[in-house]
């Protein structure tokens, strides 16, 4: 580990001076210190004590998930609080919640890449990791909620003994393809980005096990420029492919609802509204993970306050978009003149689930407005708390959409009220155990920050910098031209 003067770490790079770009990497003047710092996390024989504590808790919560799922498999979906008419509740809420979380990772890695937002390099690797783990958590729920799990292969177009095929006109089947593609492409994107960094870890490996482990996955990468050329082209193509993909995934998820006839679900605003909400919740989750991670491993010079502030701005924008969508839903319900539509929305805000609705509004629309103030955007404690609040709010958004619409639809005689059972609640909490276990393992053993990309945006990486090592002031000035 390298030690940096405190003054360098504390530099405030959030203020905007139009005559020059604010530095994105603080304190590192040389490439070697970046490698040492990032690899140092994976190489240190012992992670910080906090890691052990978090990992222990996460594994225990993961075990609880295992117990819940096993109980569900043995007994059947009756162990959940599902009832007539609420036949979709926590399972689908959790699915939509987790898929949404993943969207921030892809947005950072693909869309910000296409827009040449160089600040993404500090956070893209673990945002992408977060995407993959979130999609794993999401994939769990449709997998276990089908009742007879041993028939899960019915989801896929596989020739079978019944000589039947899936019904491709159903949005539920589109979902299988959308989420499956999303997971595969996110995994590829994450892995391709990691190849050069795995090679760094391989080249620095002190033990045989590390050399073989990292070496196997580094597939013999040797930084050849002829390879870099194709690599960069492939990376650009992946970004260009992931951009429409990420917008399509939550659109397809929203079709699960929008294509139905149910008041409260049957609206055309759903695709963009779901995508904005997904990005909103995902950035909140990136923040929830980034704030402790940079603290724990001393990565404040790579994930700077500027990175966090930029994320807060995105949270503010997407949160306001979500707020607009909430308002527009009400307007359309009124403007449509449809009785059931009007009832669905008045009932959502003032009916039996009003408590959930107002939790959603206060968490998603009201509290993020604090980010209009620079003091709030740059306060670590506040942004961490707000990110947790947004996570809660976005889970409730999906709960409100799914459950309130089902509980009271066209026929008052079949109205009902859904109450979760302990299995519902423990499965939801357990999915966080799965997520955190995977994430903590990632932090411990893999390069948490994209070293090769960070080096490429450092002032010293500019080949036209003149001298072999440009003087700092000069280099900072023309850093990211």
């Amino acid at each position: 580990m390298t030690t940096l003067p405190a003054s360098l770490i504390e530099i405030d790079n959030t203020s905007e001076d139009p005559t020059r770009r604010a530095p994105l990497v603080l304190g590192h003047e040389r490439f070697g210190t970046v490698t040492a710092k990032v690899c140092g996390v994976a190489e240190s024989p012992r992670p910080p004590l906090a890691w052990y504590v978090c990992f222990g808790i996460s594994v225990a919560v993961l075990a609880m998930l295992g117990v819940c799922v096993l109980y569900l498999f043995i007994t059947g979906v009756g162990v959940w609080g599902l009832m007539n008419p609420v036949m979709w509740a926590f399972d689908i809420t959790n699915f939509v919640f987790w898929v949404g979380i993943g969207h921030a990772g892809t947005l950072i890695s693909a869309i910000l890449f296409l827009f040449r937002q160089k600040w993404r390099t500090g956070i893209n690797r673990f945002a992408e990791a977060m995407t993959i783990f979130a999609v794993i958590c999401a994939g769990l729920f449709p997998g276990i909620h089908i009742g007879r799990v041993w028939l899960a292969y019915w989801l896929f177009p596989i020739p079978n003994q019944m000589e039947m095929w899936p019904q491709f006109r159903s949005p539920l089947l589109w979902d299988v393809f959308a989420v499956g593609t999303y997971f595969t492409v996110s995994l590829l994107f994450w892995y391709v980005g990691m190849i050069p960094d795995l090679a760094s870890l391989r080249d620095r490996a002190k033990t045989k096990l590390a050399a073989i482990g990292y070496g196997l996955f580094a597939i013999g990468w040797r930084g050849s420029n002829r390879h870099w050329h194709r690599y960069e082209r492939a990376y650009l193509l992946l970004a260009a492919l992931s951009t429409p993909l990420v917008l399509s995934v939550h659109s397809v998820v929203s079709f699960d609802f929008a294509v139905s006839q149910l008041p409260g679900w049957h609206t055309t605003i759903f695709p963009p509204y779901f995508v904005a909400g997904a990005i909103f919740s995902g950035f909140a989750m990136v923040m929830t993970l980034a704030v402790p991670a940079r603290q724990l491993w001393g990565l404040k010079d790579l994930i700077t306050l500027r990175h966090l502030e930029n994320m807060n701005k995105i949270i503010l924008v997407t949160g306001s978009m979500v707020g607009y969508a909430y308002g527009m839903e009400f307007f359309i319900a009124w403007y449509s003149g449809a009785m059931y539509e009007k009832f669905a929305f008045i009932n959502r805000a003032f009916g039996q689930y009003a408590w959930a609705y107002w939790i959603m509004v206060s968490c998603n629309v009201i509290t993020p407005q604090l980010f209009w103030f620079r003091k709030c955007r740059t306060s670590i404690a506040l942004m961490f708390i707000l990110s947790l609040v947004v996570n809660v709010g976005m889970w409730f958004e999906r709960f409100v959409i799914i459950v309130t619409s089902l509980a009271q639809d066209f026929l008052p005689s079949s109205w009902g009220y859904f109450t979760p059972t302990w299995v519902d609640v423990c499965t939801l909490i357990g999915s966080f155990g799965l997520f955190m276990t995977l994430f903590l393992l990632f932090c411990r053993y893999l390069p948490m920050i994209a070293m090769a990309e960070i080096k490429a945006i450092m002032p010293a990486a500019n080949p036209h910098g003149g001298a072999h090592r440009a003087p700092e002031a000069h280099a900072v000035g023309r850093a990211h031209a």
Binding site: F31, R169, A234, F255, A456
Partner: protein
Amino acid sequence: MTTLSPHQAGHMGQPGRRAAPKPPPTYGMAAEFDSPAAIMHAAEAVRDAGYRWWDCHTPFPVHGLDKAMGMHATILPWIVFGGGLTGGLTGLALQWFTNSTGFDFWLLVPVRGYEFLISGKPAFSFPAFIPVIFELTILLSALTAVFGMILLNGLPRWYHPLFKSRRFLRASDDRFFVVIEACDPKYSPAKTRQLLESLHPLSIEELEA
């Protein structure tokens, strides 16, 4: 270890050494630099000297180095286009066959189209097929982009003569290398070394094959 210290002035024309065991065959010669500007300059010099079998190794992609090396653009995007087209057509054919036809044939197992009426939609409901066509286009394109890139790069290759060099370990950290291969027609231990020395590298190393 012979690999660590560069052979002095090559291994030819030194009568005193003839009796010693034959030196191992050479892979090429590597020069080490410490900045993107230096490697850029070196790449231009090696390109202009007319070498063809050579490469630069850098910890991150150095912009402008492709041009400095005189490289051509990769055909990867065209391959990916083919992959995407295949994915899209596969999605269309899959949905058309399974939901819109009653064909029946053997392909290891009996395969039969399953044409059935649902909510009064036509058997071939193209608008409803678009999402799956789109997803499969993206899926096949992405797989082609990644595996095409890896295969065009000749990877995975877990063994390479460069990995024997201890100095080269820093190519993934903070050092920049120009490597000229011995199979290049213009390669000569003395002249190549002379060229590389004129570029003021941190070190020059002859690599064992």
